[in-house]
Symmetry: C2
Subunit: 310 residues, 2 copies
């Protein structure tokens, strides 16, 4: 209770005043004042020490940033606008190295605050516990869809063109922590263009495209020569037995958007270049189920939906 | 991923079809279809093996029931109607004793399902992980307030009468697991009567009343002779050095409601007896800050806001 009170004191000092909350931290629940959420969207994610990160290698500030970023990336995949986040922590009772459990909690929140501010997410509630075990963080983010409704994985059709934001591969060299949720990009695209389906790339480009295809009951034909490969993927490929393309297709934790759009929209997207970041056509949806690679001679071959290479 | 898929398969078989979800389990986030949530209310709570329960002593079914129940009790304290719950699990990779991690997850959900059905809460999303550490469960529940708005801790005034539902003390003998969230009772009272403030008793009757008083910037004078003492509290008092009243005031995890109402409402409540369970007048709000005990001779003495006796 004392840890939770100390953390609440810190939060009250450091959180921006938020007119959207009638009842904020400290009551039994948070109330989002006078708000009418349309088609509320909710996503939740938990990360744990030893599996998703090692405190001996990663600054807790970046752990906090990442965990909020991952949740926001899930909302971006739905083209939803984030509203409020709820943070459950279970902290090692003795803290970590020189950090007390309170200092550890504060650093995690310090990582969340700038992201929360940039994306106008209220840090509206949470639960803070200690135990003999390692650190675990669970964040739930509440959002709402725009008048266009939610973007789902299941709306793609054969003939749709597949686009991806940003670049892929080698996230382990930094991007897996420095998550940049593509909220603004998703909202802009969803508002101005006809999008049939979308997903964010968390487990690997190939694996996540195959999930989108499966949810849409069709297949995907990938033009592997067009995949935007990151400098990090090239760097990694020089150190191991995987090619840069394999890293781009399989590494995961890129937190980029993949969308499927009808052909007319594809033309507009290529002409408009509406985003500040790269948006690349990387393939198309086809009737034949599964994930396929287009060969230069016009034939196709099965592409293994690998992921988790990291 | 495979554990999560297996669990999703089980959930798709066992969850009731839910017309309130456009997008349910399996996409990047859940979308609550065509719903306009008014003043969304959100609460989150995490419980951990070794601190809040021991799997060697408690059936995982009851752990699941409890964790959902605790969250629903927080919504009851706000007089909010639950809508959807989101469940993050981190499971020991090897499971527990004869149970695999999947079986453990299923048992936790088996404990949540009946409660979710009774209170019409959609189990709408979640995240399932394994690790080398012990079991931790975090649940976030989304609800909405009724037209009367939220009931908070901070609206009590000097002169308000304090009522409590049910009986107190000795929850460790069973009630701490068999949580009965007072949702229906809170909604009924909030709809028919003027309630100034409310809280649910999770950490101890004395401690939680003192929190309500502090949030309302006044004090509370408790008539300790009127506290409804549970049979479990009496039973415990025979085994240890604490009186049954001390157990009732300090044990916690009763998950009963405490409300503060104006005097005219107090009279009506006593006349109407509107609940199926007991509703007892146990004191009044006063101007002098702090928690006080009324003596028979009309004087008062400080009452320590003890809690966590368990």
């Amino acid at each position: 209770v004392s840890l939770e009170n100390d953390l609440l004191d810190w939060l009250h000092e450091h959180l921006p005043t938020d007119s959207r909350l009638t009842v904020g931290l400290g009551d039994d629940a948070a109330v989002l004042a006078g708000r009418h959420l349309n088609n509320p969207v909710v996503t939740t994610d938990m990360i744990t020490e030893g599996v998703d990160f090692l405190l001996s290698e990663v600054d807790p500030v970046w752990v906090g940033h990442k965990e909020l970023g991952v949740n926001l990336s899930d909302l971006a995949a739905m083209a939803a606008r984030p509203v409020a986040a709820f943070v459950s922590l279970v902290l090692p009772r003795e803290g970590f190295e020189q950090l007390s459990s309170l200092q550890l909690a504060i650093q995690l929140y310090e990582g969340m605050l700038p992201l929360a501010e940039r994306f106008q997410v209220s840090l509206a509630g949470g639960d803070t516990n200690t135990w003999e075990g390692p650190l675990a963080i669970s964040i739930t983010v509440l959002g709402e869809t725009t008048p266009q409704g939610p973007l789902t994985r299941s709306g793609a059709q054969a003939g749709d063109q597949i686009f991806a934001s940003g670049q892929f591969g080698g996230s382990i060299l930094g991007k897996h922590l420095h998550v940049e949720p593509r909220i603004h990009e998703a909202l802009l695209l969803h508002e101005r263009y006809t999008l049939h389906a979308g997903i964010d790339v968390s487990d690997g480009l190939a694996l996540d495209i195959s999930r989108l295809a499966e949810a849409s009951a069709c297949g995907a034909l990938i033009d592997t020569t067009s995949i935007p490969i990151s400098a990090a993927a090239c760097k990694l490929s020089k150190k191991d037995s995987h090619s840069a393309l394999q890293h781009a297709m399989g590494d995961g934790e890129d937190f980029e958007l993949v969308i499927a759009v009808p052909p007319a929209t594809a033309e507009k997207l290529c002409a408009d270049e509406p985003l500040d970041i790269r948006l690349t056509r990387i393939g198309e949806m086809i009737e034949t189920r599964g994930l396929w690679q287009a060969n230069l001679d016009g034939t196709r071959q099965i592409l293994p939906p690998y992921g988790y290479l990291h």
